[in-house]
């Protein structure tokens, strides 16, 4: 697991046990869903959709968890930045007519720069210090971005169409191609981040700062610059996630809010700062959401997400794979 501590954590017995319990719970929930709906196809379809959507949640949560793990900042503006990146992608596709996924070329670097600017300008230095202040600043930023988008683009939803969108049959279930690509993108990005954190000098420095800031400073790491860099990388992840998710949802200025909630749940579930945990947490939340709609007909699928969130917060605030501090 990629927690941000310098020493490699091996899978221990407790982790295996929790993984087993979790897998058993998931199987049980699916079995119950089968009994509830009586149609294997319906359940299979929601399991597939859940897992694929979950990959997307993991993708969005990865940047958030990186920022939390290294900087201890709960970034309430992550969802709003995602929305900004989506409008950017929409704008690029609209004006240039490029393939939607090519918008990555614009959205990732632009979001990287926005992230660096936000950290330098708003979060570091005096006034950005305490936890409450950082919460308030990111909250203010999210309000600013969301309502700025609302002001300039209006509330009418927009969409990005994938040219040559196909429906892919998957053992009876049917999924949109874009959903599958987004899932693959999530895995790829997760692997990339894992590689970055584990195998590069930069990653080692990031993990060192996360584990012990003053100590890292002593061995010559420029902690402030590294914080800015980490925040920028986390924000760039939102840029990538936005492009991959854009064909799947309708783009509105306030879309960030709903993803923010899910992303926080995923981050807490996976253990704050745990990039692979975010991916696993995302898959679980995707499943929970889909199964909720089977069990509680007509209720919002987010309700199940909240139940899981509250249980995890209370029972395992360090996340499924973390250890008690």
């Amino acid at each position: 697991m990629t927690t941000l501590s310098p020493q490699r954590k091996r899978l221990d017995a407790g982790m295996l046990k929790r993984g087993g319990v979790l897998a058993a719970l998931v199987v049980l929930a699916i079995a119950l869903a089968l009994l509830q709906s009586g149609s294997a196809l319906v359940v299979w379809q929601s399991v597939v959709t859940g897992i694929l959507t979950g990959g997307l949640y993991g993708l969005i949560a990865m940047g958030l968890t990186l920022i939390f793990g290294v900087l201890d900042i709960v970034n309430f503006a992550h969802g709003a930045l995602l929305a900004v990146a989506m409008f950017l992608a929409f704008g690029v596709v609209q004006t240039t007519g490029l393939h939607p996924y090519l918008a990555l070329v614009a959205s990732v670097p632009v979001l990287f720069l926005i992230g660096a600017a936000v950290h330098r300008g708003l979060l570091s230095g005096s006034g950005g210090g305490s936890l409450e202040n950082q919460l308030l600043i990111t909250l203010g930023l999210s309000l600013l971005l969301e309502n700025g988008l609302l002001l300039f683009f209006g509330a009418e939803p927009r969409s990005v169409k994938l040219p040559g969108e196909i429906q892919i049959p998957l053992f009876g279930a049917v999924v949109a191609g874009s959903r599958l690509y987004a899932f693959a993108g999530a895995i790829l990005l997760g692997a990339l981040l894992y590689w970055l954190l584990r195998r590069t000098r930069l990653g080692t420095a990031i993990r060192a700062v996360a584990a012990n800031g003053p100590g890292a400073e002593l061995v010559g790491i420029n902690v402030r610059r590294l914080h800015t860099l980490t925040f920028a990388i986390g924000t760039a992840c939102a840029g990538a996630a936005a492009v991959l998710a854009a064909p799947l949802i309708s783009i509105t200025p306030t879309l960030g809010a709903q993803f923010n909630i899910t992303a926080f749940v995923v981050v807490v579930l996976g253990g704050m700062g745990n990039v692979v945990g975010a991916l696993v947490g995302g898959l679980l939340i995707g499943l929970v959401e889909q199964l909720t709609t089977i069990f509680l007909n007509g209720q919002s699928s987010l309700l199940g997400v909240f139940v899981v969130f509250v249980l995890v917060l209370f029972l395992r605030p360090q996340g499924l794979f973390g250890r008690r501090a």
Partner: protein, 346 residues
């Protein structure tokens, strides 16, 4: 030279200063007296702004007790606002109960829910960001439950039925009646008074001690849990009054208006602008935020030439107070009142 004993210059004997509680209550009384004639002199449009300011003030005072005095940073005060709004609306619409009784019931429900949420949060030692996220999650969960329950009309919510004529007992007056302002003024004045009395009470001193150093306070035998829960309940009850009054004033409530994240933000922002943990911070912050939202509303209705594209758009008020929020946190981390107080002492 004869040795003289240095002694400090004699100071003229001054009257002992007023106890801060008395001083603050006296200031409050003066402010309320000054505010009474306002709706008679202000044009009706500004009268509505004044009522909105007072509703902001109620929410701000409620949030400040828990998060300012108590140091428990809540991100979900919409939960208590919404419970107040929904309890009174439900009792009025479905059972014809007077909004006053509905308001009291809403305070009770909100306080009870706050105690339950608080108990579990403190029992499992949720702190800082985790506590903020948990309170946020509870408010969102309530919003979703309200949106999907037939019991409270799902997304439609409640519409307060109009009565014939005016009645204080039914809390309905003519649309531009100054009575709406006066009732809100009494409620907000009472809320500020309660916050002043609470701050200087024994319980209040315990709570600020727990906020400043929980471990030290606990080791000196402070019943930490009890006082935290008391604070949370008081805070929720005051916020619920705002919710109940909001419904009665706008005659309408739905899940987003009651439990939406923006409601929690409206409780937080005035206090941050004014000064977290100060008595007058919520007052100053609400006046600024309320006036600001009026300025932007006018601007959007009739924008000047170069801002013509803003016509009919929404979001400008939030943009402005988001900028204000960020600026205040960056430049005056103690808020306006907190910073002034610091300058004053020096």
């Amino acid at each position: 030279m004869t040795a003289t004993i240095e002694r400090p210059a004699e100071k003229p004997v001054k009257a002992p200063p007023l106890h801060p509680r008395r001083r603050q209550l006296a200031v409050l009384a003066v402010l309320v007296l000054l505010a009474i004639p306002l709706p008679l002199v202000l044009p009706p449009a500004l009268g509505a702004v004044a009522v909105r300011i007072l509703i902001f003030l109620l929410m701000a005072v409620g949030w400040n007790i828990m998060s300012g005095f108590g140091g428990m940073f809540s991100f979900g005060h919409a939960a208590y606002f919404g419970l107040g709004a929904y309890t009174s609306a439900y009792l009025l619409v479905e059972h014809g109960v007077s909004p006053w009784i509905g308001m009291l019931a809403g305070m009770g429900v909100a306080a009870a829910v706050a105690v339950v949420i608080g108990y579990f949060s403190f029992r499992y030692r949720l702190q800082g960001a985790y506590f903020a996220l948990a309170t946020f999650a509870f408010a969102e969960a309530l919003r979703l439950i309200a949106t999907s329950s037939d019991f409270v009309n799902r997304a439609v919510g409640f519409q307060v039925p109009l009565i014939q004529g005016e009645s204080l007992w039914q809390l309905q007056f003519a649309a531009d009646s100054p009575a709406y302002f006066w009732v809100a003024l009494v409620l907000a004045g009472l809320a500020v008074a309660v916050s002043i009395v609470f701050l200087h009470s024994r319980a209040g001193k315990y709570v600020t001690a727990i906020r400043d150093d929980e471990l030290a306070a606990a080791s000196l035998g402070t019943p930490v849990m009890r006082h935290k829960l008391l604070t949370v309940a008081l805070s929720a009850a005051i916020t619920a009054v705002a919710g109940a009054y909001y419904t009665q004033y706008y005659l309408f409530v739905n899940p987003d208006l009651a439990f939406g994240a923006s409601v929690s933000i409206q409780a937080i922002v005035p206090v941050v602008i004014g000064g977290i943990g100060t008595v007058w911070g919520p007052v100053v912050g609400s006046v600024i935020m309320g006036s600001l939202s009026d300025v932007t509303a006018t601007l959007l209705r009739t924008p000047p030439e170069f801002l013509g594209f803003l016509q009919g758009r929404s979001g400008l008020d939030v943009v402005l107070y988001a900028i204000l929020l960020i600026l205040i946190v960056r430049l005056l981390p103690k808020g306006i009142v907190g910073t002034l107080k610091e300058r004053w002492r020096r």
